[in-house]
Symmetry: C2
Subunit: 107 residues, 2 copies
């Protein structure tokens, strides 16, 4: 019940959300991120380490560069958590989704 939710804790940091945003349309080297945010390179590297530990990003080496990209699993988990509150603001459409969701479960 409302266990870890590492994603939530890690993304409380605005800079980390910005990083995710920069990664939204594909992998990028650290340098790009440093350029995008207004922070020192070590600071960015640290945020990336935190994001990685939470499973929110993944890295791949390309020569001296490290290409980071989003790993969606923790976000999906966050989404599931949110789902248990969604009825508070849900619209017709959301109710359709809920309905279909339950139908899907049943099979």
């Amino acid at each position: 019940m409302a266990a870890g939710l590492a994603a939530l804790e890690v993304l409380a940091e605005p800079h980390r959300r910005s990083i995710l945003e920069l990664l939204r349309d594909g992998e990028r080297p650290v340098g790009d991120l440093v350029a995008g945010l207004r922070m020192s390179q070590p600071a960015v590297s640290k945020h990336l380490r935190v994001l990685k530990a939470a499973g929110l990003v993944d890295v791949r080496a390309d020569a001296q560069r490290r290409l980071y990209r989003i790993r969606p699993e923790p976000l999906a988990e966050l989404d599931e958590w949110l789902a248990s509150y969604r009825h508070f603001w849900s619209t017709q459409l959301d109710r359709l989704e809920d309905h279909l969701d339950r139908r899907r479960q049943g099979r």
Copy 2:
């Protein structure tokens, strides 16, 4: 772009998530929450203040008691934020939703 998102920052605290969970099925006085969590009453009151400041809960007085309840708006906002990443893990059903969403926009 990825502005405040107060909800995210406030809900990074696990105890505050627990409080929200306790409020999920209706309003409750502070005492109930204190009983539910394993914390001092002042600590709970402080968390409630933070939640209130973020618009995540609302209070109503009943004699000496204060009845707290969820206010969904900030959660809906968080949901919107998440939406921009949802395509990373979306299923068939989600794609249907997206489609309908866009249709709805168009009218």
